[in-house]
Symmetry: C4
Amino acid sequence: MSRTAEPTVERVLEAGSRLAAESARFTGLGWMRGTSGNLSEVVSRDPLRLVVTASGLDKGELTAGDVSVVGPVGETVPVEGIEPRRPSAEAGLHARVAALTGAGAVVHVHTLSAVVAGHHWPDGVPLRDIEMLKGIGRLAHDDEVVVPVIANSQDMAELGDRFEASYDRGVPAVIVAHHGLYAWGRDLTHARHVTECVEWLLTYAVAVR
Amino acid sequence: MSRTAEPTVERVLEAGSRLAAESARFTGLGWMRGTSGNLSEVVSRDPLRLVVTASGLDKGELTAGDVSVVGPVGETVPVEGIEPRRPSAEAGLHARVAALTGAGAVVHVHTLSAVVAGHHWPDGVPLRDIEMLKGIGRLAHDDEVVVPVIANSQDMAELGDRFEASYDRGVPAVIVAHHGLYAWGRDLTHARHVTECVEWLLTYAVAVR
Amino acid sequence: MSRTAEPTVERVLEAGSRLAAESARFTGLGWMRGTSGNLSEVVSRDPLRLVVTASGLDKGELTAGDVSVVGPVGETVPVEGIEPRRPSAEAGLHARVAALTGAGAVVHVHTLSAVVAGHHWPDGVPLRDIEMLKGIGRLAHDDEVVVPVIANSQDMAELGDRFEASYDRGVPAVIVAHHGLYAWGRDLTHARHVTECVEWLLTYAVAVR
Amino acid sequence: MSRTAEPTVERVLEAGSRLAAESARFTGLGWMRGTSGNLSEVVSRDPLRLVVTASGLDKGELTAGDVSVVGPVGETVPVEGIEPRRPSAEAGLHARVAALTGAGAVVHVHTLSAVVAGHHWPDGVPLRDIEMLKGIGRLAHDDEVVVPVIANSQDMAELGDRFEASYDRGVPAVIVAHHGLYAWGRDLTHARHVTECVEWLLTYAVAVR
């Protein structure tokens, strides 16, 4: 693909299909109540393009076309053959996460454990000496991990700045206080696994605090 | 439809089909244990008519015809082609909710979180500065929300009066103490989303109190 | 059916089919971990005959023939065309429950809430002023209900005596301490509903104690 | 099979098929978050050979071929017709468990209850006078059971030594502190049942401590 080419409709729908299935899975776990949360896949690096689940829909009932294509600040990018859907307001943060971390997929879910942990540890959730840390690329022993917690905002630029200021290259997740969890991975399956492991770790931290 | 026309059998069964599917979904979440809870859709505004799930049946196994058509005080309204089923005693409260709020669908479920929250906050459950509040039409910041809690009663007129006295136009839900949750929305899917968000919010409130 | 006639193979397999489906349902709820718990249906009153799920099998994978036919003290009763399966040791208590209460179906499950509640209230779990009490045939207001708790035993005659000594005609359930829950109803669907409501009530009681 | 014969591809795929189904089941229970946990079946005693689920894959999506065949110290054993997959690092502990206990199948899952219980009882989790103990081959009364808790390690030889030092012939499970649970049985179905019962017991112990 040339530098300026936009993703094809096939590429977008392939991503949309995976995002729909993954959203249904997270909905089944109770992590996307209401129409909350959103998932994205990077389909182009330069220019940066993400396919993001559309806003306002039940995340257990998406179809491949229930997505938007967005650029680096979450702005909608038209793709021929794709019906324009309203992207999630949070698409801008997905793009910032993808740009800074190099992730191929970003998950944003409203897991209770993340919000409860953010409540108890507003300066970051410390985790150490737990095997499950290996699931997020860290060591099971003698490795101090802190999941950053950033203040919530409705301004995605502000939220993105807070994310960048808090970003720890060794931690593929951030808690937005009183809001939810962002987690990411090299692709959507990896992002699922990271999300599951972070959720387990936060639930554990809350259980034994 | 003319002002005095009653809903057709097709219209009732369409609603019944949606109510059955939605009831099965809530049953799967554990929010309609036993034969508890009931769901309704408004099918006519003037005169007010609601299709309400029938009483005494397993809410995971309803079919389209397991409904009653009721009027403003929950009284059964005969519809040609619809086998009369016993409406839930709570149909009267559904009708009051629909009349006062303008909702197109009302959900009544026995979520544990609602009853536990009602126990801890008998004067209303205060919620503030939580992103999930957007799921019930409120702001994520600096917006004081109180989910009303009203005393339980077996007299639907009395319960309806308590509901009306407690009603806050900005809160699409009410907890009936020691009983369960009512939540509503412009249609059944919206009512589902409101219910899920309120349930999340109450679970969170209990978890961090 | 004449007084001395034993149930036919068809009658037994019909019951077995219902018991298998219901067991799978309870297994899905996590209430029959391992091979724990057992369900029964009364197929004859005089002589008393129950079809009981067989012992030692995964309760999520039963087939219609995975049952035994037992008499008043849990003894196996041969039925032509039914392969003899080892009845649960607890079949004797099922029979005692059916004989004393007149129930058409008995559910025994190892719900965590029942055992935790039995731990906290060894003399019986008091419940009052909760709407869900209507699901077990009681009033939502001003009606003092106590779910009996009896000491565990491996001797079914002893356990049966304890059950009878503790039996309250108005309460369709008993907790066996450090063991699990028995609940019953006029048929298997009703027994399911009673079980679900009791489980909800006990979970609630533990949550707000 | 002669003493030196390796398992056939059919035997391995049969085991792999069962392991895949069982892994999907445990994933559904939330006990194998991310790519955590692994299951094994013994396919040969002499020489000792286990079929173990492959590492790094989603345990809800395995197919029959997503396995490795390993020997007594977890080393990969080539089998003609089986694509070599990376065995889990923990395969060595599976082999030690199988060798010492005589188990036909070993389950390793990251249940929250096991890690929380290991946190509260670092010297072993005492259990006594609970009916569910019968599900792990013990008595419901007057039988003191202690589920061993061993310190975590990334060195499988060290972890195996700790397991052997802690091993109680009467307890078919061990908690690896800050890590997860190992449980075993005569075959995979039995190992499932033991795992479920241990998980229930640990959840109960945490709930009433």
